[in-house]
């Protein structure tokens, strides 16, 4: 195992690495012992706090799985609406017409600058005041609205950066062939840009899944995270165990999404050997990477 930063270890370096490993292991063990002792003190390690997740199927069928369904429902709805809307906004921002480019740019920049949570709270109040949507569905609507507004504008930037990252010659060649602007975009630029955009788009999907949790914590949406109250109330204050299980479910979902996308990307890339490099992450026209972070 070699890297630019250090040589392949010789005998001395090997000994030193072993020493570091032991010291680091000791520190980790110390922290783990301290955490476990703290948990044990408050009786959070008792078997009956953890066993319901393995032995009692009702904790899954009554709380976790329905919560997970709500999470996935909100995420899927948001993705289905935000993807086309974002593509539209992204193309709009690339328009040759000033009167399209400027307003679309303003909308995109505005919704990107505002925390998703504020958008969700605003949407919830809007629906309460101005529509007849029943209060059962209002949290879902509010969560989806917030997620769509925010993520569509992020996806717009991803699309824009993806199209801009293509070699200029592609657009010029299409023009030389006599294609109209719409044709150039749909037949030449967008299909190529998709491969480039894929990593950024996928991190956005992960962000959407994660952001649904905001609805559970603050808007009374019955998604996965919000089930923790019910579970701890019914299964004897097993707070730590419940949060561990809920976090693990999120981690597994997001790992699956990332894994599937990596496979899809490999397939797409194999098709086109000429595919350009990934979207530049810095000083590019759009801060593609940035927004992937903002997932709350």
């Amino acid at each position: 195992m070699s890297s630019v930063l250090y040589d392949t270890p010789g005998p001395r370096a090997k000994r030193r690495n072993v020493l570091f490993t032991i010291v680091f292991l000791a520190v980790l063990a110390l922290v783990a012992w301290w955490v476990l002792a703290a948990l044990n003190d408050k009786n959070q390690l008792a078997a009956d706090k953890w066993s319901p997740f393995v032995t009692d199927s009702r904790v899954w069928t009554t709380y976790l799985l329905p919560g997970l369904m709500e999470t996935l429902k909100a995420a899927a709805l948001s993705i289905l609406i935000a993807l086309p809307l974002g593509a539209l906004l992204g193309i709009g921002r690339l328009s040759d017409h000033r009167w399209v480019r400027v307003p679309v740019g303003a909308v995109v920049e505005f919704f990107r600058a505002i925390p998703v949570l504020l958008l969700m709270m605003f949407a919830a109040a809007l629906y309460r005041e101005f529509t007849t949507i029943s209060s059962d569905f209002r949290p879902l609507y509010a969560v989806v609205t917030g997620l769509v507004l925010y993520n569509a504008s992020v996806i717009a930037e991803v699309v824009r950066a993806g199209v801009l990252s293509l070699p200029r010659g592609q657009g010029d060649a299409a023009e030389a062939l006599g294609m109209r602007k719409g044709q150039t975009m749909t037949y030449v630029l967008l299909p190529q840009a998709v491969t480039v955009m894929l990593p950024a788009l996928v991190s956005q999907l992960v962000v959407i899944v994660k952001d649904t949790a905001l609805g559970g914590a603050l808007l009374g949406y019955a998604e996965l995270l919000s089930q923790n109250r019910q579970i701890t109330a019914n299964y004897g204050a097993n707070t730590i165990a419940t949060f561990t299980v809920i976090a693990l479910i999120y981690i597994v979902i997001n790992a699956i999404v990332t894994h599937l996308a990596a496979r899809l990307e490999r397939r797409l890339r194999r098709g086109k050997k000429s595919a350009t490099a990934a979207i530049p992450t810095q000083a590019g026209p759009a801060d593609v990477k940035s927004d992937a972070i903002s997932g709350a």
Binding site: Q44, I114, I293, S294
Partner: protein
């Protein structure tokens, strides 16, 4: 339309001040924690690399909301860890910072790692040829260049962090989102104005940061 601002009923500046403080403390903390994680991830010790990778992948895929709510329910209410605060607002504030640091540190780590990747291998090789050891190569040659290259991604992390402070509302830190919720309930007839005020507040917080750091990124970038 905006007369609710003059009523003196709402401490708007105070709420945004809490938001700014949350962002500032978490930024400092996550910069330190993120740098430590990045150093672990590139270190020659496999165990440290493994720990860094596992931590980053686990925490990055967990919603920040889960992290912060777990801090409140798990650490405070279950284990009684309050980080030395007495009032419930202070507890929420401090635990939110802890959660934000744990979460944002992973993104700082990734930004730094992408910065490290921009440093030409020749630099590190030259440093090693001079006889510098790993720590010296990292701290004297690679990290200074990596930080300069990472200003732009780090700026994005900072902006995202500023927006993410709103999640602290879930555990009762008295920041902007909490006040907005209260104002929406009391001032339903001025709903749009309330939203506009808070949107404006966040634009004021994030826009100058983005512009300044974008400018700094261009100034600092190592010209190659």
């Amino acid at each position: 339309m905006f007369d609710f601002l003059d009523s003196g009923q709402y401490d708007l500046l105070g709420a945004f001040w809490v938001t700014a403080q949350l962002a500032l403390y978490s930024a400092i903390g996550s910069l330190i924690w993120g740098t430590a994680l990045a150093a672990m991830r590139v270190s020659p010790v496999p165990l440290m690399r493994g720990f860094g990778t596992t931590y980053v992948n686990l925490v990055r895929n967990t919603p920040l909301t889960v992290v912060i709510v777990a801090c409140s329910f798990g650490l405070d209410q279950t284990l009684g860890i309050t980080l030395g605060a007495d009032r419930s607002e202070d507890i929420g504030f401090r635990l939110a910072i802890l959660g934000l640091i744990a979460y944002t540190g992973t993104f700082v780590c990734e930004a730094l790692r992408s910065g490290i990747n921009t440093v030409p291998p020749g630099q590190a090789e030259a440093a090693r040829a001079l006889g510098l050891n790993f720590v010296q190569v990292l701290t004297l040659v690679v990290l200074p260049q990596a930080f300069r290259a990472a200003v732009a991604p780090l700026a994005n992390v900072l902006i995202a962090l500023t927006k993410n402070t709103t999640v602290a509302a879930a555990i009762g830190a008295a920041e902007a989102a909490v006040l907005m919720k209260e104002m929406i309930e009391n001032e339903t007839d001025a709903l749009f104005a309330v939203f506009a005020v808070f949107a404006f507040g966040f634009i004021v917080l994030t826009l100058p940061t983005g512009l300044f750091l974008g400018w700094a990124a261009k100034r600092l970038a190592v010209k190659r």
